[in-house]
Amino acid sequence: MQSNPVIKLADIQKVYHTGEVDVHAVRGVSLEVYPGEFVALMGASGSGKSTLMNMIGALDRPTAGKYLLDGIDVSTLDRNALADVRNEKIGFVFQGFNLLSRTSALENVEMPMLYNRNRIQSHEQKERALSALELVGLGKRTDHHPNQLSGGQQQRVAIARALVNKPSLLLADEPTGNLDSQTSIEIMGVFQKLNDQGITIVMVTHELDVARFTKRMVVLRDGKVVTDEPVQNRSAAEKELEQLRTAQQAVKLAS
C-alpha cells in the first residue's frame, strides 16, 4: 500500500515529573499508521495508551522521540502551531461526547470551523456542517440541543464535528464507553462506514469486543507496544445488529 504514513512515531517517550519520582508513561513507542487504516489502541489502564493518544492528537508533546503527522514534525511545534494542527489534521471523538451544552447540533459541528485559519464563509460552514451530520445519519435533528439527544445521537454529532474540517486522522478515545451495547455497535457501524470511505481512524479502547470492529490491533503494556497485528474474525456492525435483532425477536417470541 504504500503512500506516506499518516502517523509515524519513532521511539516516542513521555516522562512526567511528579514530585520526586519520574513516571515513564510511554517508553519508546514506534508505530506507523497508513491512510485508510482503522487501528485499535488497546491496553489496561496505566498502560500509557491515553498519554500516547494525547501525543498523537497533538494535545501534548513527547519528552523524546519524533512524531510526524501527515509529514509534519509535531514533536517540536509550539502551542499555537499545535492548535492549528489539531484544527486542520485531527478530528477528536471523546468518551463523554464533549459537546457544548445549550448549543444546537449544527452549531456544535460548525464550531471547529470558527478556528480555521482559512476563513470559511458562514454559508459554507453551514453546508459543510449539514453534510457532516448527514454522513453520520443525523440530517434531521440539526437544531436539537445535546440534552434533547440520546447518547448515540450525541456521539454522532461529535463524530460529525470531528469530520467537518476534513482531517487526515479521526482520533477516538473510548467512543463507546458511555453507550449501551446496541448503540455501541451502531456507532462502530458509523466508524466502519467512514473507514470504508477512506478515512483513517485510530481508536483507543480497552474492550476487545469493540476492538474487533477495527482492522488492526495495537496492544500497549507499561508504555510499550506488546502486540501489533491485523484483526482476525473482524466484526461487521451491520451483521452484528442483524444478529441482535434476531435474538431480540427470539426473546419476544419465547415470552
Binding site: L59, A83, N87, L99, L100, P112, Y115
Partner: protein, 401 residues
C-alpha cells in the same frame, strides 16, 4: 476567529446566566447612572446660573465708588463720595464703551393711591434698560430730555405695581417720593430674583438728575453702569476705565472698584470645574468597583467553563481565540452596563428635572466618556480572567469535572 462569531458566543454565554449577568452589570450601571445623572443636573444648574449672569445684562462693567471710612466705621462699597458726573462723562467717551448709566440709589417710602411701600429708588440714565438687558412692558423709558429737564417721571417694577396699584393700570398715575409727585411713564417687564436673591422688580427708576436734585441733594454717584462694545473688549474697557479714573482721581489708593461680568463668569466656571473634578472622582471609584465585580464573575465563569475551553482548544482554538472570546464577553457586559447606566442616569435626571423643576442638560461629551470608560473597564477587568483561560492546558481542561 471572527469578531461576529465571538460576539454571538459571548451573547449566548451571557444569556445563559441572565440574572448573574444583570447583577454583574449592576455595579457599572449604578456607577455610570449616578455620574450621568449628577452631571446632567449640575450642568443644568450651572447653565442656569450662567444664564442668570448673562441676564444681568450683556458685557456690563460696574464702577463702584470707594468705601467711606470715618472714625473706624467703614461704609461699604458706594458709600464714599468719589464718583462724579464728570467721571461718568469721561467714561462714556472711551472707545469701547457704548452706554453709560449714572446710578444713585436710595431707599424711600413712597406713597400712591392711599397706599405706601418702602422700595429702592434709583436714579439712572435712559440707557439703563439696554445695559441691564431689561425691557419695558408698557409705556416707555424716560428720555434724555427728561434727564436734562429734571423731569418728575418714573418707571416702576412689577412688585411696586402690585403693591401700590393693585388691579389698576399704573401708567399716568402719580406716586409721591418724599412728597414730590412723580408720574409713572413706564412699567418694567418682570425679571424675578437675581443671583443674590434680590427682587429685581421691587424698584422705582427716575432720571438721575431728578434723583440728585429733587429727592436727595447729592453731587456724587453711587456707581456707574457701563456697557462694553462686546465680550471681547470687556477686559480692555475695564482696564481703560481703571486707568482713566486713576488718572482723574490722582489718589494714592484707588478710591473706586471696577467689576465686570467676566469676573462673575470666571467664578461660576471655577465652581463648575471643581464640581467636574469631584464627579470624575466619583466616576472613577464607581467604575473601579464595577470593574472588580466583572473581574470576579469572569473568573468564576472561566472556572465553570473550563471543560468548554478544553473542547474548544481540542478542536483547534488557539490561546488567543480563547482570550478574545472572554475579553469580548467582559466588554459586552461592561458596555451594555454602561449603556443602561447612561440611559438610566438620563431618565433619572429627567425625572428629577420634571418633579423639582430643575433644568437638566446631558452633555454629549459625558455620554461618550461614560461609554468609552466603561468599555475600557471591561477590557481591563476582563483581561486577567481571559488570559488565565487562554493559558489552560487542553488536556487538563478536558478532564475537568
Amino acid at each position: 476567529m471572527r469578531i461576529f462569531a465571538s460576539l454571538r458566543i459571548a451573547a449566548r454565554a451571557l444569556r445563559r446566566n441572565k440574572m448573574r449577568s444583570l447583577l454583574t452589570m449592576l455595579g457599572i450601571i449604578i456607577g455610570v447612572g449616578a455620574v450621568i445623572g449628577s452631571v446632567s443636573l449640575t450642568t443644568g444648574a450651572t447653565k442656569q446660573v450662567e444664564d442668570q449672569v448673562a441676564s444681568l445684562g450683556e458685557n456690563v462693567i460696574t464702577v463702584f465708588s470707594g468705601n467711606f471710612t470715618q472714625g473706624g466705621m467703614r461704609g461699604g462699597w458706594g458709600s464714599a463720595p468719589t464718583l462724579t458726573l464728570d467721571d461718568a462723562y469721561a467714561i462714556s467717551q472711551l472707545p469701547h464703551v457704548v452706554a453709560v448709566s449714572q446710578e444713585v440709589r436710595d431707599r424711600e417710602q413712597i406713597l400712591a393711591n392711599g397706599l405706601n411701600w418702602n422700595t429702592q429708588v434709583m436714579g439712572e440714565s435712559p440707557d439703563y434698560p439696554q445695559i441691564l438687558n431689561r425691557s419695558i412692558a408698557s409705556g416707555s423709558m424716560f428720555s434724555d430730555q427728561d434727564v436734562r429737564s429734571l423731569a418728575k417721571s418714573a418707571v416702576i417694577g412689577k412688585t411696586v405695581v402690585d403693591q401700590l396699584f393693585p388691579g389698576e393700570n399704573p401708567l399716568g398715575q402719580t406716586l409721591r417720593i418724599r412728597n414730590i409727585p412723580f408720574q409713572v411713564v413706564g412699567v418694567l417687564a418682570p425679571k424675578g430674583f437675581n443671583l443674590f436673591g434680590q427682587d429685581q422688580d421691587d424698584i422705582v427708576i427716575v432720571p438721575y438728575t431728578s434723583h440728585m436734585h429733587r429727592i436727595t441733594t447729592r453731587t456724587f454717584l453711587n456707581d456707574i453702569l457701563v456697557e462694553a462694545s462686546s465680550d471681547k473688549t470687556i477686559l480692555q474697557a475695564q482696564n481703560e476705565i481703571t486707568d482713566l479714573l486713576t488718572a482723574r482721581h490722582r489718589s494714592k489708593e484707588p478710591d473706586f472698584t471696577v467689576r465686570s461680568q467676566a469676573d462673575l463668569m470666571e467664578r461660576v466656571s471655577a465652581s463648575s470645574r471643581a464640581m467636574g473634578f469631584l464627579l470624575a472622582g466619583v466616576a472613577a471609584v464607581s467604575l473601579i468597583v464595577g470593574g472588580i465585580g466583572i473581574m470576579n464573575i469572569m473568573l468564576v465563569s472561566v472556572t465553570e467553563r473550563t471543560r468548554e475551553i478544553g473542547i474548544r482548544m481540542a478542536v483547534g482554538a488557539r490561546g488567543a481565540d480563547i482570550l478574545v472570546q472572554f475579553l469580548i464577553e467582559a466588554v459586552t457586559l461592561s458596555a451594555i452596563g454602561g449603556s443602561i447606566g447612561i440611559a438610566g442616569g438620563m431618565i433619572f435626571s429627567w425625572l428629577i428635572a420634571s418633579l423639582k423643576d430643575w433644568p437638566t442638560v446631558t452633555p454629549t461629551i459625558w455620554i461618550i466618556i461614560a461609554f468609552i470608560s466603561s468599555t475600557i473597564i471591561g477590557i481591563i477587568s476582563g483581561f486577567y480572567p481571559a488570559w488565565k483561560a487562554s493559558q489552560l492546558d487542553p488536556i487538563e481542561a478536558l478532564r475537568y469535572e
